[in-house]
């Protein structure tokens, strides 16, 4: 006799597909924010499943900081090709060249804050009224209270005080023109769920998620890859370059995304490492979030992902 029970992964998948279909049904111009990271890869996989057998009826939006890992860009392009998707790229470099935003004078300074401008510009130009993001509530405290359908005002800003109550799975999608929603179908997923799902569904990921050897150095306890934007500083003898087997747990801006030492080359091995890990994802690998506990909340208010 069948028990009519779904596993936790299948329940999470069913919930995400339902959310994506609600958006397609109720909004005029959705888009999916695609960073090339594992969360957006899973999100894209779910979107394709939710719309099947139709081709994805909305574009991917990618904010290119100009500091992306080349592996991530080529992964992005291969997905676009494979799934015959529409891709809209917002270039932070172009906005800098145009003088719309000013880069911090330190060479290799992070462009994390700058991307908010480019993102909002692209969203406005595209007239998108619902933008899918891969955010998860377990990532960070400020996210724990964010709704699945999260309203942004005309300036793309989030107001944590004025959130609408979200009841059952009856989502209120009403908004004024100029406002838009960020929609987070992965809200209820944890990092472990993501990896288990990648394994279960064979979701393709950029290869830098898996262990590979590369030259790295240590800075403030973090492992940074030797690259065009990250080099040991002069007079810092502790930043000595060595080769190590590493992988990335997130794939952000190359200037501020650190690697972890690892031998994991398959999702299963990553699951094992993740289950044992005692350092949270952001804490381990995002130098930008270390500044303050409220850093994320501030950036979200400004319209960051």
């Amino acid at each position: 006799m069948t028990t009519y029970r779904l596993s936790h992964l299948d329940s999470l998948e069913a919930e995400a597909i339902y959310i994506i279909r609600e958006v397609v049904a109720e909004f005029e111009a959705p888009a999916l924010l695609f960073s090339g990271g594992k969360d957006s890869a899973v999100l894209l996989h779910l979107a394709v499943k939710a719309c099947w057998p139709q081709r994805l009826p909305f574009p991917l939006v990618h904010v290119d900081t100009g500091h992306n890992f080349p592996e991530v860009i080529s992964y992005r392009d291969s997905q676009v090709e494979r799934l015959k998707l529409r891709l809209v790229v917002g270039s932070v470099q172009e906005d800098i060249d145009r003088g719309s935003i000013v880069e911090h004078p330190t060479p290799g300074a992070t462009r994390n804050r700058l991307q908010t401008f480019t993102l909002l510009r692209v969203l406005e130009e595209g007239g998108y009224d619902a933008v899918f993001g891969g955010g998860r509530r377990d990532e960070e405290k400020a996210r724990a209270k964010e709704r699945i359908f999260s309203l942004r005002d005309e300036f793309g800003q989030w107001n944590p005080r004025a959130q609408r109550p979200e009841l059952w799975n009856v989502y209120n999608t009403r908004h004024r023109s100029g406002e838009h929603f960020r929609v987070f179908p992965l809200s209820n997923w944890t990092e472990l769920d993501i990896w288990q799902y990648v394994e279960q569904e064979s979701v393709p990921l950029p290869e830098i998620y898996f262990a590979h050897r590369r030259p790295v150095f240590r800075r403030s306890g973090m492992l940074l890859a030797l690259g065009p934007f990250t080099q040991p500083r002069e007079g810092h003898s502790e930043e000595e370059v060595f080769e190590a087997s590493v992988r990335y747990r997130t794939v952000g801006d190359m200037t501020c995304t650190a690697a972890v030492e690892s031998a994991a080359v398959t999702p299963i091995e990553i699951i094992t490492e993740t289950a044992l890990s005692r350092v949270s994802e952001r804490g381990a690998t995002r130098t930008d979030d270390r500044f303050s506990e409220a850093a994320m909340e501030d950036r979200k208010r400004e319209g960051y992902f």
């Binding site: 936790h8 339902y18 397609v24 139709q54 509530r137 109550p165 009841l167 059952w168 989502y171 506990e293």
Partner: protein
């Protein structure tokens, strides 16, 4: 692994944050850097111990005021289950948060301070849980360390709580004596309370039987989208109805009726992107194809010929009012029910429920923020609905203010009104 969603509630200072912090900590969901940050904040605040409650305190404003004011979601897993906690703040004026947290929960954990016993707040939370159709209530009697682990104290509180709870619709009530601060009866059975022979809280959460809570009898499939790919040539005739199973079991070959048209057909196939399946059940998201080409659109519903929901425009419902602007008879609002938007006129406020005494105030002229009451509605189009008690999916709705677009009420359908 199965998913259990639960909400936590209690008055301020009953120890809810400490309890959740402990569940996360003891199940190894807390990472070293988060712990370091919490240790640093604890030190800065002058706490004499690492304040696990800080692990769950979200936004900056709340940290500054030292209170939790919005529902926050937390995650942890054991080898047996994955858990989603809706952490609902304890303040009196936040009934709406409790309603929100309960709307997606299978179970509610209520905290009671062993020194104080059940309060008005405890009763209110239990009542809201019951109204929201929660079947399992766990009453954690906390701070047992402060009453010398006294069995008689625990038994007295348990009796008091049970007496009150007989008036509720919740069928499964469990009381557990705990100390959130010391970790007694949270993950491990307490060595201080040998007299208690029930399970520790976590064990109970892992084992409580929830799968029979789902309605597998009444087939209800609200259509979310009609899928007709245009581009792909080989799929030109494809016409599928996308949706999530609200209740019941659907099998290939089943006779179904489409509401509101009333036309019937049979299920040709149940499809997913991973391939066709033979049967679907909640909460699966699938695509259903029918043998006949019918006119079906979003908001329609598939059900069985001999088991249909109520169809009508006059509905009586319990609502929790969530807006600062009070609700008065004559109000016109938008209403979303399953995948359907209609407009609704509030014809009458039958009564306002006093959630502390369960008294029904039939003279109440309006419902204000956080009030719960019974109203009669008339909708512009018929809804296909069931009583909330028998079907949470087809028995629930939200009301939306057309001027502000704000969600102003959660509704639970009782029956047709006259």
């Amino acid at each position: 692994m199965e998913l259990l969603r639960f909400a936590t509630a209690g008055s301020v200072d009953d120890g809810k944050s400490t309890l959740i912090g402990r569940l996360l900590y003891d199940s190894k969901q807390v990472f070293e850097d988060q712990l370091e940050a919490v240790e640093a904040s604890s030190l800065a605040r002058g706490d004499e111990y690492t304040n696990l409650a800080l692990l769950t305190d979200g936004l900056r404003a709340e940290r500054e005021q030292g209170i939790t004011i919005d529902v926050a979601y937390r995650y942890f897993a054991t080898p047996r289950r994955k858990f989603i906690i809706a952490d609902t703040p304890g303040h009196t004026q936040h009934t709406r948060n409790m309603v929100t947290g309960c709307s997606t929960a299978d179970l509610v954990v209520l905290l009671v301070d062993a020194r104080v016993g059940p309060t008005e707040q405890t009763r209110r939370h239990a009542t809201v849980a019951s109204l929201l159709g929660i079947r399992h209530l766990v009453c954690c009697i906390n701070k047992m360390d402060l009453v010398d682990w006294d069995r008689a104290r625990f038994e007295a509180i348990r009796r008091e709580f049970d007496d009150f709870a007989t008036g509720l619709a919740v069928t499964d009530i469990t009381c557990i004596p705990i100390s959130a601060l010391r970790g007694d009866n949270i993950v491990e059975r307490s060595s201080e309370m040998k007299w208690y022979d029930g399970p520790a809280l976590l064990r109970h959460l892992e084992e409580v039987h929830i799968s029979s809570d789902r309605n597998l009898v009444d087939l209800r499939f609200p259509v979310q989208r009609v899928v007709r790919p245009i581009a792909a040539n080989e799929l030109r005739d494809f016409r599928g109805y996308a949706g999530q199973m609200a209740s019941g079991v659907l099998q290939v070959g089943d006779e179904v009726v489409v509401l509101p048209s009333g036309f019937s057909s049979a299920v040709e196939a149940i499809e997913t992107a991973a391939g066709p399946i033979e049967e679907a059940y909640p909460p699966m998201s699938v695509l259903v194809r029918l043998k006949d080409e019918l006119d079906v659109s979003r908001g329609d519903m598939l059900c069985r010929p001999h088991n249909q929901p109520s169809v009508g425009q006059d509905i009586s419902a319990m609502v929790c009012w969530m807006s600062e602007v009070a609700l008065r008879p004559g109000a016109k609002l938008s209403l979303k029910h399953t995948t359907r938007w209609v407009r609704a006129l509030v014809k009458d406020i039958q009564y306002r429920l006093d959630v502390n005494t369960l008294h029904r105030d039939r003279e109440a002229p309006e419902l204000s923020l956080n009030d719960i009451g019974r109203i009669d509605l008339r909708t512009t189009l018929p809804l296909f609905y069931d009583e909330y008690r028998s079907n949470r999916s087809t028995g629930s709705f939200v009301l939306v203010d057309d001027a502000t677009n704000a969600t102003v009420a959660a509704g639970m359908i009782l029956r047709p009104s006259n």
